[in-house]
Symmetry: C2
Subunit: 300 residues, 2 copies
């Protein structure tokens, strides 16, 4: 079933111990869309400037990604980010950020998008995420991501959002900050109690945790020896997660668990190259093969 | 089948965000023995001073732990360690360390111990670990732990040890140091290539990884919300791991995998109290119940 994603699309320059990638396609909604497109048709809502390269748009359209919701601003410039990873690639610093057209992103959903049964609100201002939800016709499953900036600056809006969504995807440091506790199990449970039916807590190279009222579980990351660039891993994880759920229609407990494994495996490909390079080389069959390997690896 | 462990026994004082525990039973071989004793008979070799409290010895003897190999030095003092954990309990600093009788620990195995089919060389000088192996009559499975100090100061002895053991248990930071790479998958494989048939890489709250020539796999830690004191988690993990292997006779590939899950679950109890407090409250049935829960949690 169709999966709608709303979020950032950008041009990244990435400095990693493995090399430098200049002016490559990035952004949360980009990684999410591409990852999800292995599983289900995707409808993308985002904003770019006139400078957005045609090849990037073509790359997205070469997949099952509908770009009718891509707002191209006349005379505007695309969001740009430049970052540098530490030697172990577990932390990064932002060297430059130019919001450009993203600064006044007020997503208007095409009418044809509003009935999408699955929606993912990629990291963005909670007020904007809420405004997107207002335009939707009762989606079956609405999931959002967030970040430290919004926890600090738009706390009330974020709390309102948490009461409106089915699931929250959040990384470990941000979960600690939002819940005010260092223990990740306590943090995940506390955030779940703030409203969403479930919380998926991303731990990067250490995997992910799931919390609902009745369940807590954990999965390790797929152990790839070829980490080239971690950028977009979390968004690809979310894309694989939501993509699988949308493809399997009803988000049962078992479905949510398999979705987490699919998200994990999809993200493991993303980090094996810069930008979408590695994802662009693989097919759904590669994902399924690694899924089977991962399943075998973690069973005992 | 009997499992021999050789290593430190000490008196710890622990400062954690959850409280302070003064002069409690600690030491790698202590945690290992107690954890392993849920699975198999344990033979303990270590050294303590005359000041070693009788209650501590009784606690060990109340389990299936043979203390005939416990060397009590007349006029000597027991090894002491004092440490402080960070707020998130993921790092700690050593405030005081007094090696005392551990400084000249030259383990002599009782004759009855030398035929033990399973042996664990807890963290100690590689030369000492090698000297223990020399006294053994061809054990079926010899596994060792090590630490940064020996990687730096006794590198050659450590490399000799690696060629003599079946398995190495090592934590993530130390694996990075020994292998000279930040990627843990590459590090684990590189260390395995140095000699041991398998490497178990411990990641604390993030679980553990396994590397043999043909297999790589990962398991998350059991997600306990009640982390009181992480001291001894790694040694308890090793105790559960080796204890299960010794109880199941032949270390098959499947056996090694289940052993890792048992190690994980056993360690998850250890961190729920200071010293051996939590382990002393539980039975094998509690471990098996949590094992089943963990198995269910990680299956998809």
């Amino acid at each position: 079933m169709p999966l709608l994603v709303v979020g950032s699309i950008g041009i990244d320059t990435i400095e990693a111990p493995t090399g430098v990638a200049t002016d490559v396609l990035g952004g949360a909604a980009t990684y999410f869309s591409y990852a999800a497109s292995f599983f289900t048709p995707v409808r993308l809502v985002g904003v770019v400037g006139e400078d957005f390269p045609a090849e990037h748009r073509r790359l997205l359209e070469s997949r099952k990604i509908d770009t009718a919701g891509l707002d191209v601003r006349r005379g505007g410039k695309t969001f740009r980010w430049r970052g540098r990873y530490s030697a172990d690639m577990n932390s990064r610093e932002t060297l430059e950020v130019h919001l450009n057209v993203l600064a006044d992103f007020n997503p208007r959903l095409p009418e044809s998008y509003r009935a999408a049964p699955f929606v993912f609100l990629a990291n963005g201002a909670p007020a904007t995420q809420l405004a997107v939800l207002e335009q939707m016709h009762a989606p079956r499953l609405a999931v959002a991501d967030t970040m430290d900036l919004w926890i600090k600056t738009q706390h009330d809006d974020l709390l309102r959002l948490l009461k409106r969504i089915d699931g929250l995807v959040i990384n470990d440091q941000e979960a600690r900050m939002l819940a005010g506790t260092d223990n990740l199990v306590r943090a995940g449970r506390a955030i779940q109690a703030m409203g969403p039916r479930f919380v998926v807590l991303k731990k990067g190279e250490h995997g992910a945790m799931f919390f609902s009222r009745d369940e807590t579980y954990v999965m390790p990351a797929y152990p790839t020896p070829d980490v080239i660039d971690p950028t977009g891993a979390g968004d690809s994880f979310a894309g694989g997660y939501m993509g699988y759920l949308a493809s399997s229609a009803e988000p049962s407990d078992t479905g949510l668990k398999r979705a987490m494994a699919y998200g994990t495996v999809t993200a493991s490909f993303t980090v094996e190259g810069f930008s979408l390079d590695r994802l662009a080389q693989i097919s759904r069959a590669d994902i399924d093969r690694r899924f089977a390997e991962y399943q075998n690896m973690t069973a005992f």
